[in-house]
Symmetry: C2
Subunit: 632 residues, 2 copies
């Protein structure tokens, strides 16, 4: 798709894997080609047994499904189901956290409130009395408010959306009928509406998809981030190491992979406590490293190294140096235990919901978190004992990266410049053109793009155009590995305006160098932090989020969750770049709604572009339009 | 698939449709062939954007998806999502009813409690005080108990399952980990578990599919039936007319189509009240007829004629005589408004969730039920005024049918034979072999089988083997049209044993003739009545439901709902025939679990057979095995 070379980590790890005769996703992707065009275009329906139906939008074949469904409806219905799969994942994650927090408050789960600031801040958002009360007291009320949303059948506004979301957007959603009450009602209804013989109107289906996006955004992402910050603390700026070189030949290498810090925080705790046992087993130490989003969570809060993004999750096993890979939920490739078996690697599933053939399952249930975490860490030490002395192949690739840029951390930095109006320095520099605008580059790392450098190239082109970038998820791993989360990158890649701003800000904040040009804001659920940032800037300016010179991008789309996150941004009014194309191109009308008409509904629009330079140019063009509309 | 001729209604209606140049589902099905083999085998996955992936289980292509997913997992995951689509539909239907009932009790929706018996009976089931209390008082507590299930995050047993389900099966489900707490949690988790990178074990996915079957069975079907009986009364035996000949050239023909009697009961009420307006418009009367399951609901409770099953929903429009088709939820083909446009037919969608291009939308919201119902009925009268005098083509086909055989109605009949032990006459006749066993033939009518007579042939073969048949859903429409719901059918089709029993029972109960050999137990959600019947018989014998000589069958599978209903029967231990094959054949292991291993888990197993005689032979063989195991 582009001419740049394969990132060096991929290159070296793939060579290692191939030399060992290991099959990887790239081999399976090559074997799967050509991939089904009906599926790619969205015009495949197997929702009822009169089907399966397929419609070739270019061809001479049937123009409707057996039930009479148009390709437009087929596409819209499939998209709604994708978004529902994503929203269910985030809502499930949030609910698990919420119940863990409730049980912790009840003394039934060994977790504490480390984010007291966050409790009091949220207490104010929800209009609770906070003066003179303990964090526990306020927190218990917050938990009740959050649980009320899941239990309500009164059709009253969802608490989390109606108190946490920005006011102007909330008003817009109310007018559009996009607000919701109980997130579970919406998931049930989305599955119901998309079953055979219900909603057949592509427009109402697309509106429901936006609504599911809001469910994802507020009862998923925002609730996840809020509860994670309450339980584990709000991230503050930290420097971490990144890339496969963080593995250590002579240490017990434990990789946590997945999304839920309820597991990985306990693994971190017990890795520390059991370090002596590792030493007794002949290791230098326990070396905990992070993969995918749970890696982001630990790096943001504890400086744990970022070993691999999702598309490298197979590849780091090829080193033979991972003694234990511990997984929780989401994005865990089923191939992983098979690869682990080629080495002494213990591959451990932990979630009640996630079982993978070939894995060892040690159920991790928050009530018995300490016992399970010990057992799991010891499994890593045992695996090391078997592996010790055998050859491993760890590419010596390692970068440093600044992480932990939560909204609170960003405001903290900016406060050192202007304590009374922290956002002013940023806004002034947008106004004077030093900062052209903002891009949130988020989501997955896809092997469809990892033989090149889709994300890196796109971001560098944006930086050269003075677009400040914030990143989350596996995109943040890619940026870290490419050195984009460093002060040096500011000098190397930014246009003069952005360079000047980041340098001045870094200096004023006493950081000893420029701020990095890409701000690592966290995991995929931490896209809520981006929303909060956009909301804060828009609120400060008194404009709608859709008016900001800000664009979102998921340049390497893989997961249903990325679809639902994308929909939450579209509902917010944020224009969105995506690659590869979502499965909408089989419908001219759905494509038109999402790429054109939506501008007149929420202010957002989608554009698809698989070439990184052209994608960046598209983002820059939109930002310039937005600036012009604001009179900048 | 078989050699019998097309049912006469289909034959004549198709000729009419073709003579008018109308496209129907049969034309689109023919154009769609050959249908996608990957889809049919279940080995197509488009859950993430590394795909779409397809695996040919017979071929030389890839053996795994890009993420490493095996075809076994692919098949199990797709099946879980189908079941979740079905369960979401039934749970959504139940929740809508429950909220309507709550609002009616609060005086906010114009509905009453017509099923006081049902309220008190359920009150006892749930251990409520009933003596000296009003139905309203008890009902309010029942509503609270039901709503509690939707709100709970305490992981405590689901009320509706734990109080309504038979004890032995409940115990089995607890041991298997199949019981649930909040149905919404399960829908969310099923979507989450089946998203990319979560559950990859076909066995745990299949167990979760059974669990979703229980969600469907108890928080869907049973809750629907219970609340419908509370609101509209428990059905009692009644005789109805059936088939397209129930349309009347000179009347305002209003067809209600869908599933939710909250709409159709009000249409029935206002059709009566506005009859004079119809007469004033030149009609003889308003002739309300039922299509699909809402037709079953009205026929069971009010003797409203059964005009058409789902696979005929297009065809009755071809008569030109339907003045108004009013639809609510589920199984509404998107082609219908297009066909309606060829005539003066008003096609009206009513549910907030269901919009269809080309339809007129009159939102029916229970709080304003009377106003909306009037508007809708008047739209029918207006359409008649336009249609009046134009040629219509109504095949003169009409049969009578006995409907309304709720469990309570059946027990009522049997009580006339043995007031103290009503089930005894049935059980004695099973023991002596007059009744070989029972078959519940349920679910959809499929155009894939409606050029033949799959269901009719299969049922006749069962009756000849002295198998007593109960039917629901569109299968009941098929039986009604074929004359199987009559006393005459008993003499015509039953083996000597069954004939003798039904004749004796009919006589003893003073019905003036034999009981029909096929008992119409209601709509698709009324499959819960079959479960209650099985539970009552098993309870009376002190055996598990899986030990009964009883088999379920969905001989013309169309809907995701049929998959979730099927799973609820599999969880119960009932062997199940199905045609066409569910999308499992691409996985040997999933096929083996469902067709063989499940016997050792719940006692159930699936068999697939598309030939009606062989299907009946398969059912008879299972029944004989069960009898032998019971020592009969």
């Amino acid at each position: 798709m582009n001419n740049v070379v394969t990132p060096v980590a991929e290159k070296q790890l793939l060579e290692i894997a191939r030399s060992k005769g290991l099959e990887t996703g790239r081999d399976r992707l090559a074997a799967m080609k050509p991939q089904c065009g009906f599926g790619e275009l969205g015009t495949c329906c197997r929702i009822c047994y009169m089907g399966p139906c397929r419609i070739d939008p270019f061809g001479e074949g049937p123009k409707k499904g057996v039930c009479g469904l148009s390709p437009d409806t087929m596409v819209a219905r499939n998209l709604l189901r994708e978004a529902t799969g994503g929203a269910s994942s985030h809502v499930g994650h949030a609910r698990h956290l919420l119940i863990t927090l409730r049980d912790a408050l009840d003394g039934e789960a060994p977790y504490e409130i480390r984010g007291e600031d966050r409790v009091f801040a949220l207490g104010k958002v929800f209009g609770l009395a906070v003066e003179g009360r303990s964090a526990k007291q306020v927190c218990r009320e917050l938990v009740d408010i959050a649980l009320q949303d899941f239990g309500r059948q009164d059709n009253k506004p969802n608490n989390w959306l109606s108190k946490r979301a920005p006011a102007m957007e909330r008003e817009m959603w109310e007018k559009l009928g996009l607000t919701y009450s109980n997130p579970h009602n919406e998931i049930e209804t989305a599955m119901h509406a998309s079953s055979m013989g219900n909603d057949a109107d592509p427009v109402t289906l697309l509106l429901r998809t936006l609504k599911i996006g809001l469910v994802d955004g507020w009862s998923g992402l925002a609730l996840c981030t809020d509860v994670q910050d309450i339980l584990f603390g709000t991230p503050q700026v930290t420097t971490v190491e990144s890339n496969v070189g963080v593995l250590e030949e002579n240490s017990v290498n434990i990789a946590v992979h997945g999304h839920n810090p309820v597991l990985s925080e306990k693994i971190l705790e017990w890795a520390g406590k059991l370090d002596k046992e590792a030493v007794a087993a002949g290791a230098e130490r326990i070396n905990l490293v992070g993969v995918c989003c749970t890696g982001n969570e630990l790096s943001m809060r504890h400086g744990v190294p970022l070993a691999a993004h999702n598309a490298q999750s197979e590849l780091i096993l090829a080193t033979g140096a991972v003694d234990c890979m511990i997984v929780d939920i989401q994005c865990i490739w089923p191939s992983l235990p098979q690869l682990a078996k080629c080495f002494d690697t213990a591959f451990i599933t932990t979630d009640e919901m996630v079982h993978i053939p070939g894995a060892r399952h040690i159920e991790f249930e928050p009530h018995h978190a300490d016992e399970s975490a010990q057992e799991i860490v010891r499994a890593g030490i045992e695996a090391f004992a078997k592996r010790k002395g055998k050859a491993v192949h760890i590419p010596q690739l390692k970068t440093t990266a600044v992480a932990g840029l939560s909204l609170e951390a960003i405001v903290g930095i900016l406060s050192k410049v202007d304590a009374k109006d922290p956002l002013k320095p940023v806004i002034d520099n947008v106004a004077n053109g030093n900062i052209l605008g903002f891009a949130g580059i988020v989501g997955c790392a896809s092997i469809k793009f990892r033989d090149g450098a889709m994300t890196e190239e796109m971001i560098k082109a944006l930086l050269a155009n003075n677009v400040l970038v914030v990143a989350t998820g596996c995109i943040a791993h890619i940026c870290a590995q490419d050195g984009l989360l460093t002060s040096e990158a500011t000098g190397k890649y930014c246009g003069d305006g952005l360079k000047a701003v980041l340098t001045a800000l870094g200096q004023a904040a006493g950081l000893g160098g420029p701020l990095p040009p890409v701000w690592h804001m966290g995991s995929c659920v931490d896209n809520s932090r981006i929303v909060d940032l956009l909301g804060a800037v828009a609120g400060r300016l008194g404009v709608k989020i859709s008016q900001l010179p800000a664009v979102g991008s998921a340049p390497e789309l893989v997961q249903e969750k990325a679809i639902s996150i994308g929909c939450s941004f579209l509902a917010l009014g944020t224009p969105l770049h995506v690659a590869p194309a979502p499965r909408i191109l089989g419908s001219q009308s759905v494509t038109k709604v999402l790429t054109e008409d939506l501008v007149n509904i929420t202010g957002a629009k989608v554009f698809v572009e698989c070439d990184p330079k052209k994608a960046a140019a598209g983002v820059v063009a939109i930002i310039k339009e937005k600036r012009a509309a604001l009179g900048l």
